[in-house]
Amino acid sequence: MAVTSDTYENRRLNAQRKAGKAALYVFLTVFTLLWLLPVIASFVTSFRTMDDISTNGFWSLPSELVWRNFTQAWTDARVSKYLINSFIITLPSLLAMLFLSSLAAFALARYRFKGNLWIYFMFVAGTMLPFQILLLPVFRLTNALQLYDTHGALILIHTAFQLGFTTFVLRNFMRTVPGDIMDAARVDGCSEFRIYWQIVLPLTLPALAALATLEFTWVFNDYLWAIILLRSDTLRPVTAGLATLRGQYNTDWPVITAGALLATIPTLLVFVFLQRYFIQGLTLGSGK
């Protein structure tokens, strides 16, 4: 068998293909490294000292590698506190938005009633609003409700704003659940709420997982609402905290990059372990 493929012509083609492939790999590797260079550079910077960088320049072998930029960012610059705040804001928002939007999505996907489509379109339209159109009224509302400068305000606005997107995705996903199962359950005397909770919701789990992963990074990475609705430094999530850090350690770049890297750890972990869901969420969200 091998004899037929061993002709001169075939060998030449094979060699050409191999060379092409090798070239592609070399190109991709170089390009990828260049692409990630800003991240790699920050990583390296965070282990060096400012003295070292300012005397020897960035493109030199580090004279010493130190750990203290991280400890300084973690404790003195309070990145640890900011991270805790981020979780306090993100997790309740996540639970609330998924629960409420799955209820709404169930109604929109599974019942015929007046205004169904209009309410759905309203949710879809809301996902694309620029935040700026909401800033002032929400700022005023939180003041009126005594919620300004509390985590509650951020939890509420994140939940409300993301409801549009999550309802949109879940509604379309729930439409794919076959109606026969529900009808059968109804005949058996199952209450509507139990149909939602015990039949439809378990079948929606893949979409919920994808949304949870995606929304976690979105809410966790929010910066604008945090600077609008919070005043106390002690309440800030890590995104807004980093801006403070920038002001504090104006020229001490190793500490700033160390803080930025520490701030990224939670979302990075989510990405590493739940990457599949993250990507699914992105594609689900683009509306097929």
Binding site: W35, L100, P130, Q146, L156, S232, T267
Partner: protein, 448 residues
């Protein structure tokens, strides 16, 4: 026959108590000098040791037990079999709450030995609900339960409880209410504010179109922002889209280690924009940054100032944004490519199409819906751009964009009415694309 404990009613009462208590704690005036402080306020102040922190020790106990109890109660309601665990657990948590109330408010050193602290409405509601949480298991006790059942049977009510017409509205209610109050209502309220001269403190006074007239005729910064937004938009719909498509084409074929390369390109997506802003600020740093340091190594004498250079700064910011966007576009295109029916490709191959023609005449047209979505998303994203500008330049160095301009005017210069007008302009521009996107969604729905 042995009488059975039926926890259905108890679980529902438990859930009601928990939810009402949580709501009352968070939003109703709770306790304080002027009775204006709700639990959310007290909680933040206490936990974070704010300067004017009220002397309400261990206040976090209340929200902690209420949240936990809500979880258990929900569990009990949803799964009647589990009611016999959930209901007593809620009662137990309620008891802990009661102990807290007693120790804090009537114990040896009561909190309100400070005469200025008066309990407010929220305080009493929470106390009442906690008592309800403790007492609710009694409803499951057979004699009471039977009495309840008899009572409910004797009531002349409609057979099936709620009318089926109402059911979808009940499911929608919480989400819709939240959405109307926090998203839809504010959108219209901003339009009203844009017609006023509100400064954030005094009551807004109507000034008609004055804000808009000033915006379009006198404000140079506004024009600069518009132009920058336009640049951002043009770059966003061209560069990341082509780059992302190219990469998706490369990674769509089977290749060794493809996963590693793919991950590298969409990793920037999980970085928060402030982090990206900081990283790139360092890259652009004029003396020590990555780029200029490299140029120095190559013996360049004159190096660009990047973010410090008025003509370059906005492009530097956009470059950082593009860096993040490419991965996103690539993900969407990869998903689109996966959905293409391979038989189309095979048919074209059989017809002898080479790679380029295959892409040009088969794959790209099939990707058209994805491309449209990507373009719309890119446009919306470019109009929303705020974080990078805010972090990297704060809008200085001719990098102002509408979103940041609005923020500065409203929250730094306290010209809230003027800021609202900018927001409305931004909204109006977005509306064109939101409308376009929505029309596609509407079309899809009507085809169903």
């Amino acid at each position: 026959m042995e009488e059975r404990w039926d926890f259905n009613a108890a679980a529902i009462v438990a859930l009601l108590c928990c939810v009402i208590a949580l709501f009352a704690f968070l939003f109703m005036p709770w306790i304080g000098v002027h009775l204006t402080d709700n639990g959310a306020r007290l909680f933040s102040d206490y936990v974070y040791n704010a300067t004017n922190s009220r002397p309400v020790p261990l206040i976090w106990i209340i929200p902690a037990i209420l949240t936990a109890a809500t979880g258990f109660a929900l569990w009990g309601v949803l799964d009647p079999e589990k009611g016999r665990f959930a209901s007593p657990l809620v009662a137990l948590l309620g008891a802990i709450g009661l102990v807290y109330f007693i120790v804090a408010f009537v114990g040896p050193a009561p909190v309100w030995s400070n005469p200025k602290l008066i309990p407010g409405l929220g305080f009493w509601v929470v106390l009442g609900c906690i008592l309800g949480m403790i007492l609710q298991p009694a409803l499951a006790w057979p004699p009471i339960n039977n009495a309840l059942e008899r009572l409910s049977r004797s009531l002349p009510k409609s057979k099936k409880g709620i009318s089926p017409k109402l059911i979808p509205y009940l499911f929608l209610l919480p989400a819709l209410a939240l959405y109307l109050v926090w998203i839809i209502g504010p959108t219209f309220y901003t339009m009203y504010l844009s017609l006023t001269n509100w400064d954030g403190v005094s009551t807004p006074k109507m000034v008609g179109m004055a804000n808009y007239i000033r915006l379009f005729t006198k404000d140079k910064l506004f024009i600069e922002s518009l132009i920058n937004n336009l640049r951002w938009l043009l770059v966003f719909i061209t560069i990341p889209t082509t780059l992302g498509l190219g990469m998706a084409m490369i990674f769509n074929q089977e290749m060794k280690g493809g996963r590693f390369y793919k991950v590298s390109f969409y990793a920037p997506l999980v970085l928060s924009l402030p982090v990206i802003g900081l990283i790139w600020s360092w890259v652009y740093n004029p003396r020590l940054g990555l780029i200029n340091n490299f140029l120095f190594l190559l013996n360049f004498k004159e190096v660009p100032g990047w973010l410090g250079d008025r003509s370059l700064a906005i492009w530097c910011v956009i470059a950082a944004a593009v860096w993040r966007q490419v991965g996103y576009v690539m993900v969407l295109y990869l998903a689109g490519l996966k959905n293409i029916d391979p038989s189309f490709i095979d048919a074209a191959r059989v017809d002898g199409a080479d790679r380029w023609n295959l892409f040009r005449h088969v794959v790209f047209p099939l990707l058209a819906p994805v491309t449209t979505i990507i373009v719309v998303i890119s446009i919306i994203d470019s109009l929303r751009s705020f974080d990078l500008v805010s972090i990297m330049t704060r809008g200085g160095q001719s990098t102002q964009v509408l979103a940041n301009f609005m923020y500065i005017e409203a929250f730094n210069n306290y010209r809230m009415g003027y800021g609202a007008a900018i927001a409305v302009v931004l909204f109006a521009i977005s509306l064109v694309f939101i409308g376009f996107y929505l029309s596609r969604v509407v079309r899809d729905e009507l085809e169903y």
